[in-house]
């Protein structure tokens, strides 16, 4: 079955919304009624049909709108896409990973024909068709990473592995939760995670780094991360914070359902074979509180997680200002019944 791509916006009039199928597709991030940092890494293997886990690279009804929003952001600020010169091999590895995944799992929308290093790529929704020589930059209209990630949902960072560390040496980041690729590019694993509170003290990053350094070809992993966003806005970069920061003050008891969004990142990592780099994909999903409460288990749990969230984490995620208003609104949807363990709706 082909996807029906929606015509919607992530800025201006903010017409973004989820269909009932997209709500059930959403990767709800809380497996119990409270939240604390954990390494929470699991194998990125195909999961339940109709969910964000069904395929390694998830394309959904928001595909065209996401790609349009990325193009607008890049037109305004090209520094959201950068790659240090030694990352070219990893860029090509990324082209291969994304094209083969998309063509295999969404054959009605994408196709890839390979004859040695002669590749033929067709992206029907975006009306793109290119024949190119794999490994030859001059045969693509853009640099390899930018070319393919302008056609694939999610942000991507390429991590070079050397000297027992991972270095964020390339990336395209247009829908991030308040961090700057331009500032962080070139940093080591712990350096770019430096602003995250509490997690360093409990050794999260030591364990995560050791695990990732040993990642093997063909064994991708994933984890979920989350925050909240006011208005369905993809571009919440520090660069544009003067534009969107004020949104956080606009939450009222009347508009919580439409304005407050749970924003989940499905972060997946693959070892890239020819470059020995790692790709870190950050695939974001937005869900309005009004959409969330259509799933009774999620409404109860969201309410309880927000109520018990440590204040440091609430501050880091930037939701202190509207946390209570949201809790009050959600309380109407929490009847106090117990919830079942796990992410999925009952």
């Amino acid at each position: 079955m082909g996807l029906m791509f929606k015509d919607e916006t992530y800025r201006g009039d903010f017409t973004f919304a989820n269909s009932p199928a997209a709500i059930r597709h959403f990767p709800f991030p809380f497996h119990e009624d409270k939240y604390m940092y954990a390494v929470n890494i699991e194998p990125h293997v195909p999961g339940r049909k109709g969910t964000a886990y069904e395929f390694p690279i998830d394309i959904d009804e928001h595909y065209l709108a996401d790609m349009r929003d990325r193009a607008i952001t890049l037109a305004e600020d090209p520094l959201r896409c950068q790659s240090l010169p030694h990352m070219l091999a990893a860029e090509w590895d990324l082209v291969e990973l994304l094209m083969t995944s998309m063509a295999r799992d969404y054959p009605e929308h994408f196709s890839l024909t390979r004859d040695g290093d002669q590749w033929h790529w067709i992206n029907r929704p975006m009306k793109i068709e290119d024949k190119f020589t794999f490994g030859n930059v001059a045969t693509l209209p853009l640099r390899p990473m930018e070319y393919i990630t302008r056609q694939c949902q999610g942000d991507f960072c390429l991590l070079d592995q050397r000297d027992g560390d991972l270095w964020m040496d390339a990336g395209i980041v247009t829908s991030q939760a308040d961090w700057s690729l331009d500032f962080d590019i070139g940093m080591s694993f712990k350096e770019w995670h430096a602003p995250v509170p509490m997690a360093h003290e409990i050794g999260i990053f030591d364990r995560a780094l050791k695990f990732l350094l040993a990642m093997q070809i063909g064994h991708p992993v994933r984890r979920l991360n989350w925050t909240m966003t006011i208005n369905p806005r993809l571009d919440t970069a520090p660069e544009t914070y003067p534009k969107w920061g004020i949104d956080r003050t606009t939450v009222t008891p009347e508009n919580v359902g439409d304005k407050v969004h749970l924003r989940v990142e499905l972060q997946a990592l693959w070892r890239l074979p020819r470059s020995n780099a790692i790709v870190f994909s950050i695939r974001g999903y937005l869900l309005k509180m009004r959409e969330l409460v259509t799933i009774p288990k999620w409404s109860r749990r969201m309410h309880r997680v927000l109520k018990t969230l440590p204040p440091e984490i609430a501050a880091y995620k930037g939701l202190s200002r509207y946390q209570q208003t949201t809790i009050d609104w959600l309380s109407k949807y929490d009847d106090g019944q117990p919830t079942s363990l796990g992410f999925f709706p009952d």
């Binding site: 030694h86 990352m87 091999a89 050397r162 000297d163 050791k210 040993a214 064994h219 074979p273 020819r274």
Partner: protein, 319 residues
């Protein structure tokens, strides 16, 4: 098992020099083998009667042709079984299992120039690395020392392929790698890599330091085979199991023989993946790895079960 296993068939066995055999491995049931980067290794699992031998070997074939893999095996003077089996018993057509490639000896892609120093069988990782550097059009030079023309592998073909970038030294002709000369005067951004016998690695590390090179630009791959010792017993604190370790067995091998999966990547004491916490130890710990720091070794609460062992009766591990 922490590594992805791939079924292959031994397609060619060739003696390429005294005591050195080249194996060509082709996939069974798939069209190609996984892509890899120069310097990667694979672990061959070789059935030998009751037991399975698992040894790491560098991939020496081109990263740009994964229709097959090639490795080279030197017959160890005191083989624990793996290299002797490959030299004495392995035949073309034999199906074996290998791990997906893992790279613990990658080149630094920021480098402006690479100097590769190989001793003997240490040439193998550089065979795939040079293919990659050639492909990426990056300047490099190889300095390859061996005992004699007869005992050195691939030197003719390397000279033919890479011309003046390859420098060969035969020990029996009194030729030695002019380490000092070749390190002096290299432009900033040069990186040096060494793979060979342990004494050679130390010689290059010391030589680079004496030449004023920053440690960040010096890379080496040092794999150890697990040295033999005396028998002892491993107790597993979590499962309550007890496993005997024979004098020619590593702890990792003993655990595997007992059907217990323990994590590993390199099986040579280099990568740190099999680091295991010691709960208690009746005996002296013999650390044979290159991963733990001297302070960590002295602390005695961690052990690399792929190469290290105990001289004593029993060690209790957090497994």
């Amino acid at each position: 098992m922490t590594t992805n296993q791939i079924r292959v068939r031994v397609a060619e066995v060739e003696t390429v020099a005294a005591q050195i055999r080249r194996l060509k491995l082709v996939p069974i049931g798939m069209s190609g083998l996984p892509d890899f980067s120069g310097g990667a290794h694979t672990i061959l699992s070789i059935p030998d009667g009751e037991r399975t031998l698992r040894n790491p070997y560098s991939l020496m074939s081109s990263p740009y042709d994964t229709s097959s893999y090639e490795v080279s095996v030197l017959k160890a003077a005191e083989s624990r079984g793996g290299s002797a089996f490959i030299h004495d018993k392995i035949r073309e057509g034999l199906p074996i299992t290998i791990s997906a490639p893992v790279n613990l000896f990658p080149v630094d892609r920021r480098a402006r120039r690479h100097i590769l120093i190989a001793g003997g069988i240490g040439i193998t990782p550089f065979m795939s690395i040079m293919r990659q550097l050639e492909h990426d059009d990056v300047p490099f030079e190889l300095h390859y020392g061996m005992r004699s023309q007869e005992r050195g592998a691939y030197w003719r073909q390397l000279r033919e392929t890479y011309g003046h970038r390859v420098h060969i030294y035969f020990e029996d002709q009194g030729q030695t790698i002019p380490l000092k000369t070749l390190l002096d005067g290299q432009p900033l951004g040069t990186h040096v890599y060494v793979c060979g016998p342990s004494t050679m690695i130390d010689w290059v590390l010391n030589g680079a330091r004496d030449a004023g090179w920053p440690a960040e630009n010096v890379h080496y791959e040092r794999f150890s085979a697990p040295p033999p010792g005396t028998s002892f017993t491993v107790e597993l604190a979590r499962s309550g199991k007890t496993v005997p370790v024979g004098p020619h067995q590593s702890m990792l091998e003993a655990l595997e023989a007992a059907g217990i999966d323990a994590p590993y990547l390199c099986r040579g004491g280099a990568c740190g993946q099999c680091e295991t916490r010691i709960v208690s130890c009746a005996g002296a710990i013999q650390h044979n790895d290159h991963y733990l720091s001297d302070a960590e070794k002295a602390a005695g609460d961690k052990i690399m079960i792929c190469v290290s062992r105990v001289d004593g009766s029993t060690v209790t591990l957090d497994l």
